[in-house]
């Protein structure tokens, strides 16, 4: 088990310089999720209009894996239709199961493939994606 498999440069970059960290207007769909086993928490806000994820922003506390995953997710789903975003979430789940998955449009996500070798950390990586699913479900 190599640490570099988990903590890739691109992950550390998202951790250090999170994209889309912050809040949206009150009209945005807001999802609060936490990971009860460790205390990590995320507030995800989604601007959902006409079947499109226009904007996604997040705040919260967490480890490098959960925060970098939130950073990537909010970037990756911007401009996607609900179906495309959910499909991406499905692909991300496959990635966490160790299946070979490619994210042509947002390759950074592939850096999280190493999490699969650290089973205790999978929940960290999927927290933001679960929030996304919940947000879109509430709208559709």
């Amino acid at each position: 088990m190599q640490l570099d498999d988990l903590y890739r440069r691109v992950i550390m970059d998202h951790y250090k310089n999170p994209r889309n960290r912050g809040t949206l207007s009150e009209e945005a769909v807001t999802v609060n999720l936490n990971n009860p086993t460790c205390g990590d928490r995320i507030q995800l806000q989604l601007e959902l209009e006409e079947g499109i994820v226009k904007q996604a922003r997040f705040t919260g506390e967490g480890c490098s894996i959960s925060l970098s995953s939130a950073s990537m997710m909010t970037d990756a789903v911007r401009g996607k239709t609900y179906d495309q975003a959910i499909e991406m979430a499905e692909k991300f789940s496959s990635l966490m199961k160790g299946e070979p998955v490619e994210f042509e449009e947002y390759e950074d996500l592939e850096a999280l493939s190493g999490v699969n070798k650290f089973p205790a950390r999978i929940k960290c990586a999927t927290l933001a994606w679960n929030a996304l699913r919940k947000g879109i479900d509430s709208k559709s």
Partner: protein, 408 residues
Amino acid sequence: MNARELREQFPILHQDINGHPLVYLDSAATSQKPRQVIEAITRYYEQDNSNVHRGVHTLGSRATDAYEGAREKVARFLNASSTKEIIFTRGTTTALNLVASSYARAVCEEGDEIVITPMEHHSNLIPWQQVAKATGAVLKYIPLQPDGTIRLEDVEQTITPRTKVVSVVYASNVLGVINPVKEIAAIAHRHGAVMVVDGAQSTPHMKVDVQALDCDFYALSGHKMCAPTGIGALYGKQSLLEQMEPIEFGGEMIDFVDWQDSTWKELPWKFEGGTPIIAGAVGLGAAIDFLEEIGLDAIHHHEEQLAAYAYDRLSEIDGVTIYGPREGRVGLVTFNLGDIHPHDVATVLDTHGIAVRAGHHCCQPLMRWLEVSSTARASFYLYNTEDDVERLVSSLLQTKEFFGHAIG
């Protein structure tokens, strides 16, 4: 005592994890089991297994003797005055829930008070929240000093004649602090309240005498003291247990069952509905034998020294914050390493074969009090040595370097 020799008796400790010899620093979550405990359980299943309190046959008698023999060991271990005062439970959580659901719900009325502290584990907090919600009682907290200790003046201030129950952890699973439960019990009694002690983290590590503490209830978990999971005990003063109603009903706990009404067995069996955790009790008895052979005072002394050593060595690392006082603690050190998230710290340590806990340690209110979202914790037991602390320190330095490069 010689920790190096004792290690030999714990088969699990002799393995490599991720290419490094295992350093197990998570005994506050659950301790490892010595060979003699594992063998006692195996022997029970291979030679004596049967149901208890009902078989006319030989195995039934052997199983009953083994189960009740374990109860005698627990009673002697805690210095209870009778085996009637020892109820076997699943662990501390079940024991505390039994006191809350049976005793507290019956005695608390609207406006009465239940007093606890901010350092309680969820298992000594939520049961009382539930009692308060159901009865209209008020849940009050004894304030903590900045170092996490309790002042008796604050106990005096918090407990009033309306207080019905005071429940305090003997040794904190986060701060490591040992609380003055004997003195708190005296104050509680002066106001007519009962004193409940959460002994999950104290019982494995120090001599406990429930009569000297003069507590009314004392809860413990076997799995933190070399016994298997799934077995624990509640000590309760006989006079209180006599007046309490069972909360689980069924086989084993009844005396006479009629169409519309039933009566209960005498203590302690009226609280032990269903087939009990017989092999677990046998394992707990074997664990008590093991701990008593070493001596609880010797174990406490060893861990005190190890905790002080770890406290000092970790303090030397730039950026480390340690929670709780240096003195008067059990063998655990809870800390954070700069702004590196404890999950990340624990993952790096794991790749070096070192097992620590990261998270809120089932103490979310205490995390808020400490103003952190989570922490890392290294906890020691009789099989840990200063070498383990050195491995931890060296791995933490590497963690810092790794994240320093990666982040900074």
